[in-house]
Symmetry: C2
């Protein structure tokens, strides 16, 4: 479970502004951790490329089992990186680009 609301801002000014507090470091790390996996990066890129994607296509697209993909998608949603929308029996996922922009704003820019 997420420790903060996924829609809330991540944490802090750019890294070089000053030393990161422990709590801020943990918050930022949790978002980066969600991104720091090859399968999740592939999922994000697939979803970002097509604008939105049905979960049903993703296990085949990344070569992983349905439970594994579901697990990864949950982590990305919890981290505020993806949005999930239920349409009938299908779940559609889309990118929250603002979230990636926030990460960038902290890393540099």
């Amino acid at each position: 479970m997420a420790t903060t609301e996924p829609t809330a801002d991540i944490c802090c000014p750019p890294l070089s502004t000053g030393p990161l507090q422990t709590a801020d470091a943990e918050t930022l790390a949790s978002v980066l951790k969600a991104l720091a996996d090859p399968v999740r990066l592939q999922l994000v890129s697939l979803i970002a490329s097509s604008g939105e994607e049905c979960a049903c296509n993703l296990p085949a697209a990344v070569g992983k089992s349905q439970p594994t993909v579901s697990h990864h998608l949950r982590q990305l949603v919890d981290a505020g990186i993806l949005d999930r929308e239920q349409r009938g029996k299908w779940a559609w996922f889309s990118l929250r680009q603002e979230r990636l922009d926030e990460v960038c704003a902290i890393l540099s820019c």
Copy 2:
């Protein structure tokens, strides 16, 4: 050990350009993984804030043992995020901001 030269570019065009290849996803994930730890983020922010920092100050600054800090610094250097310079018996670390910029370029911007 790093699988690619740390000074080489990370991998790829922005995520939304198209689906990420498995190899590119692994490369990018390895850099993000180096960032995705609270202690390492604190180290990076400390070093980024002061321009450069002696390893000798860092264990106290982050509240971890010397071997633990050394381990984290190594991961950051291997990922191409920090530069290491030996000065006498001291090791000084500085940020390779280009590396963070590369990450940003892939995530958005």
